[in-house]
Symmetry: C2
Subunit: 355 residues, 2 copies
């Protein structure tokens, strides 16, 4: 059995009984029922994920899948293509947004080359390169079906290693010029939504380039004719190595029952691919924030996930994940340490009134 098949088939639902136990425990804390809002939801969901009532995060990691996209030659981005390689290298030097935010929350960062158009002489970049970038989706398939499967495998393997090394909260992000273009194409095919609605300005396109980007996404979808019911077909025809590898991360995290945090637009497109391969995988995901990229809300809606934060961010790199980690850990700390009504010496007569 292939790695991806084995992974997808071994994703199980949340532990309903521990989830309910957690809800009951939370309802008995000294506060009006539901008054801690999403913190309560988050803590209960983590209990359902791990199967444990009491959860403490020991080690956090943000996986950054880095890859180049052939569609860059169509002028879909305001950035030069070789910026991918420069930023990938910089992400191992601690100076990028994802680095400093991860440092603040004491999370590690894993930088993976899954298809950057450059060779690195850098031991801190994990080499899972499938190719030196994809082909342009505006001219045909981005990659072969076999390459798509190998990119997903790369994500599965990286995630498996992290879980084996004790990481119990993961984030998934990316670096790659042109990947809002591929993400918009992937999401448009998966959802059937008009690509014009989901294409955004990325890092900051002017009007004319923005119109061009919309045309390129529409054209790419038309000429490739991907089967909307075949996630691998979609990823190989209009996706990218980064999206495919991130999809693998989400699948493996769900299989290993480890909570996994989606970053922004591109990360959520990959999460949706995982969801379509096995819908249980969604129950292991948290959406860190609502990206300022306009398609994000549609993807999260399709996933049925509410973003934890809305800070108008659109940086990528997994930079939304550390901020969500803080909220998740605060939620766990609260549910583990708040007193019950009994601790507060509030008796049953009171409970009748205030609960």
């Amino acid at each position: 059995m292939s790695l991806i098949k084995e992974t997808v088939e071994n994703i199980r639902p949340l532990d309903e009984s521990v989830f309910k136990e957690a809800r009951a425990k939370i309802d008995n804390l000294v506060k009006p029922i539901g008054s801690l809002g999403r913190l309560e939801e988050i803590a209960a969901k983590i209990s359902g994920i791990t199967g444990r009532l009491h959860n403490v995060i020991n080690k956090k990691n943000i996986i950054v899948m880095c890859a180049d996209n052939g569609v860059m030659k169509e002028g879909v981005s305001s950035s030069p293509q070789n910026l991918t390689a420069i930023l990938t290298d910089n992400a191992t030097r601690g100076i990028m947004g994802v680095n400093v935010l991860s440092d603040y929350v004491r999370s590690d960062v894993t930088i993976v080359d899954v298809g950057v158009n450059a060779d690195f002489d850098n031991p801190d970049i994990i080499n899972k390169k499938i190719a030196y970038g994809t082909k342009s989706i505006a001219e045909g398939a981005a990659m072969t079906r076999d390459e798509a499967l190998r990119a997903i495998d790369a994500g599965i393997e990286i995630t498996e290693d992290l879980v084996k090394n004790g990481y119990d909260l993961l984030g998934v992000g990316e670096l790659g010029m042109g990947n809002t273009t591929t993400s918009a194409a992937v999401f448009s095919v998966l959802s059937g939504m008009d690509s014009d609605i989901v294409v955004g300005r990325g890092a900051g396109l002017a009007d004319e380039q923005y119109q061009n980007k919309k045309r390129i996404v529409k054209k790419s979808i038309e000429i490739n004719g991907a089967d909307k019911n075949d996630v691998i077909d979609i990823l190989s025809k209009v996706g990218g190595f980064d999206i495919a590898a991130m999809c693998g991360c989400f699948l493996e995290a769900a299989r290993r029952r480890v909570p996994v945090v989606i970053d922004g637009f591109i990360s959520s497109a990959a999460a949706l691919c995982a969801y379509r391969l096995n819908s249980f995988s969604r129950d292991y995901m948290f959406a860190s924030h609502l990206s300022a990229e306009p398609g994000s809300k549609y993807i999260l809606n399709e996933l049925g996930l509410d973003p934890i934060l809305d800070l108008k961010m659109r940086l990528g790199e997994g930079s939304g994940c550390p901020l969500a980690f803080m909220i998740i850990e605060a939620a766990l700390h609260t549910m583990n340490n708040m007193g019950s009504f009994k601790d507060a010496e509030i008796n049953d007569d009171f409970l009748i009134d205030i609960r």
Copy 2:
């Protein structure tokens, strides 16, 4: 000159030149301009507040103003009146929501009795008691004008002490049965908005009690006839000791140029009072979250502040403040530690494209 007059008259605007310097520095970090969204806004605003480009928070404190409200006898709350005293006591025992969240972010908590209807034998509760609760606003003024001024003074004094003790990030919350009723009345008079729109269900009112609460708020506003242009008149007639004292906290924080975080509905009503006394005070405030209490969005709109978080919380106690502290500190850490384009060895040709 009275303490409040002196405080109000010494609130100055943000330091525009340092604010602009901070914006320029942020725009030169290795990311597309604006891509860190609200984190950028927060960091620049703190620079404008402190007058320093580089800001690190050393000591955090959440002030919880505790008081009882005479209007409780009108059946406006699902909780018994003496729960205020029980929870005030518990808030010094580390088991309440605000305690565990503050513990998680390493913030101290200051519990102040500004008018609880009980005597405490507890050295961890600061005694600033004006009276054993207010009178019912449904029957006349909650307190005298002199009492309102003394409650504001209490907030000013507490805040002054904290600033002198090195606290450089403050949060302001409350504990007091019936205070969503008084807050709705205060906001309705201040804004001219129909009180039916701003009255919510508090800790969880059933339909009939909710209709009663709306009637009581409307009646209280009518019989008191507070002058909508006189904040002290409004606070004394339809407010509470907690709201007045919190108003003093916001004023003094602004006067001392210390960033101050609003918690939820009640806290924001007090913040709006401070804003009306001196509109510059608003520039020192951050709205931690959008409370689930329906009037919150109208108050924040009147204040012109966007909430940092929206976690559907409605606990009060200042519990939203520690979560906002995390985002604020993450913003400062990011702007202090991210690399510039130069650090990333990205030259000017690139900059033309990506900035």
